[in-house]
């Protein structure tokens, strides 16, 4: 009998006598095997996630120079962050964006879910069709919206408004409107996705609760308020929290559509970081702002986990 080459190392140790159980491997190889399987992931994670994170952290305390030694500036970059009027404006825009877009998308999604829930075929088709914005990448949606909301009077939205007797609007080229167009775009893209989560939540509600409520003579509104809403509270919390956490680092949606303009009216935290870092090459300051954003995001994530654990237990 020949052993296969693969089996040889195992067989060699306990091959001669009959072991009571299967042959034991040497402790060393047992200890090493998991690390061999983990090695590629650990290398990638270390090099592309942890090393940048640590170096970003350390850069925030330096005035980074390219052709000379970087200069240690202590907390200066952070002081600057709290003093920077552009950043303050960016934080303000981002906050408005996150709050309005999150509320808008959740309410729209809930209405869609209530209206389009059900196993009927035409409802399934509509649900699939309106999922299109959710699967289209941000850069493409940005292009489509730039054309839709063109400021000329023949732009399709302006033409529609003109039909209703409204004068042509500037939209993305108007500093007073651009942020709101971006918010509308965000609602349009995320509502269908959130709807799917809500539909799954609605399906999970015990039908008997509705029957019981009907027997007790509850109005549709009371049924909605006392049966539907409590039933999908977990879905609502997931949707709202994730939208909050993702919203604060909004970048591509803005960069691809307005680039932060016109006149800085749509600058968000991340487009500001991009400008300071990649255009003004002030890496130290940009890293400091990134770090503050990271701390804020981590705090939000921890809150989210806390809320989630309350619902799942």
């Amino acid at each position: 009998m020949t052993t296969t080459p693969q089996a040889a190392p195992n067989g060699a140790a306990g091959g001669k006598r009959l072991p009571k159980r299967r042959p034991r491997k040497t402790p060393l190889s047992t200890a090493i095997i998991p690390w061999l399987f983990l090695a590629p992931a650990l290398v990638i994670f270390t090099w592309f996630k942890f090393y940048p994170m640590v170096s970003g952290f350390s850069m925030s305390f330096y005035n980074v120079q390219f052709y000379a030694d970087s200069e240690w500036v202590g907390l200066d970059n952070f002081y600057k962050a709290f003093d920077d009027p552009d950043l303050r404006l960016a934080v303000f825009h981002t906050t408005i964006y996150v709050i309005v877009a999150t509320l808008g998308a959740s309410v729209t999604a809930l209405c869609l879910a209530l209206f389009l829930e059900g196993p009927a075929r035409h409802l399934r088709i509509i649900r699939t069709a309106i999922f299109l914005p959710a699967i289209t990448s941000v850069a493409i949606i940005a292009e489509i919206w730039r054309i839709l909301f063109n400021s000329a009077d023949y732009g399709i939205i302006n033409a529609t408004l003109g039909f209703l007797g409204v004068a042509p609007q500037g939209f993305l080229s108007d500093p007073d409107q651009a942020l709101w167009v971006l918010i509308l775009m965000s609602i349009w893209k995320s509502a269908p996705y959130d709807m799917v989560i809500f539909v799954a939540g609605l399906v999970g509600i015990n039908r008997e609760l509705y029957d019981a409520a009907s027997v007790d003579g509850a109005s549709p509104w009371r049924k909605f308020w006392h049966v539907t809403i409590p039933g999908i509270i977990p879905s609502i919390s997931v949707v709202v929290m994730l939208s909050f956490i993702r919203g604060f680092r909004i970048f591509a949606e803005v960069y691809a559509t307005t680039g932060g303009g016109p006149a800085g009216s749509t600058a968000t935290i991340m487009t500001h970081v991009y400008k300071v870092g990649f255009e003004e090459l002030n890496y130290g300051y940009a890293s400091a702002v990134s770090l503050l954003l990271l701390l804020f995001t981590v705090a939000l994530t921890l809150v989210h986990m806390k809320i989630k654990s309350r619902f799942t237990v």
Partner: protein
């Protein structure tokens, strides 16, 4: 009778409004891309007339959309394959092995779930410019700069770990008694049993990589290496591009996600079916 009729009409009108709102823009894009009517910048047409493929020809060949599509395809294919392989290997160790340090490694990977890619953009950009010891060159301005950073994805590692944990130990032990070594257990026993989960992480990975924007934006500055989502923005700057051509390029960029979405539905159904058959 009349009230039910009017409520049905109201419902149908509402359905129409919803569909027009969410699908209408894509309809306008589709019609404009296939239309030979000449349009001013920022104008779209809603009524199909004088159909032509000319816009696609110009977009794909003259505007070099084929090049960007090729770049995107290379990045997404290699990125997804590497991402799923690396995740599956790591998940195998985390799910099926007891070893010292397992908890630390899990925590290490979990941390990156909380780490938004955006906040490490600048240091990542600097890391990409560093010379890699074995290659003797930096990966900046190569496909690798767009591929390697997305290979490590905590989501797919945890998803696969969960599924691999559910595989009964008896199956693995039976294979070992038959003389299977570690690698054979991994490839022949565990991987086939978690195939539905592999399908899911493949699709999510594909979409995640295809939608990358900031990473390809900072990873290359050579226009010939740009991925399609990044290149779309640079096409628009060109004044000679009519809306017809721009929408044609947009449609080409959209096609893969739509195709994958349709494949995703089937995959999900298959996953559900597989679960149902096994009971």
């Amino acid at each position: 009778m009349t009230s039910s009729f009017s409520s049905r009409v109201a419902k149908i009108i509402l359905y129409a409004v919803i569909v027009v709102t969410f699908v209408g823009p894509f309809w306008a894009t589709l019609v404009t891309a296939f239309s030979g009517v000449s349009l001013k910048p920022g104008q779209l047409t809603l009524i199909p007339q004088s159909p032509t493929l000319e816009n696609f020809r110009i977009a794909i060949f003259q505007m070099k959309v084929w090049q960007y599509l090729l770049n995107s395809t290379i990045v997404v294919i290699f990125g997804t394959i590497l991402q799923v392989s690396v995740s599956a290997l790591a998940a195998y160790a985390l799910a099926r092995k007891k070893f010292r340090g397992a908890a630390v490694v899990s925590l290490f990977i979990l941390c990156t779930l909380m780490l938004p890619e955006e906040v490490i953009a600048i240091p990542l950009y600097l890391v990409m410019q560093k010379e890699i010891p074995i290659l003797g060159m930096s990966i900046y301005n190569t496909y690798l700069a767009m591929i390697l950073p997305v290979v490590g994805w905590a989501f797919s590692i945890f998803m696969l770990t969960e599924f691999m944990r559910a595989v009964p130990m008896e199956l693995e032990e039976a294979a070992r008694i038959d003389g299977a070594n570690e690698w054979q257990v991994f490839v022949n026993v565990i991987l086939p049993l978690v195939r539905p989960a592999l399908g899911t992480v493949t699709i999510f990975g594909f979409i995640m990589i295809w939608d990358q924007y900031l990473l390809p934006l900072i990873a290359v500055n050579d226009k010939d290496l740009m991925t399609l989502p990044v290149a779309l923005g640079s096409l628009r700057v060109d004044d000679t591009i009519t809306p017809n051509i721009l929408t044609a390029a947009t449609l080409v960029a959209m096609a893969p996600s739509v195709i994958v979405y349709l494949a995703l539905q089937r995959q999900f159904n298959r996953g559900i079916m597989a679960g149902a058959v096994k009971g």
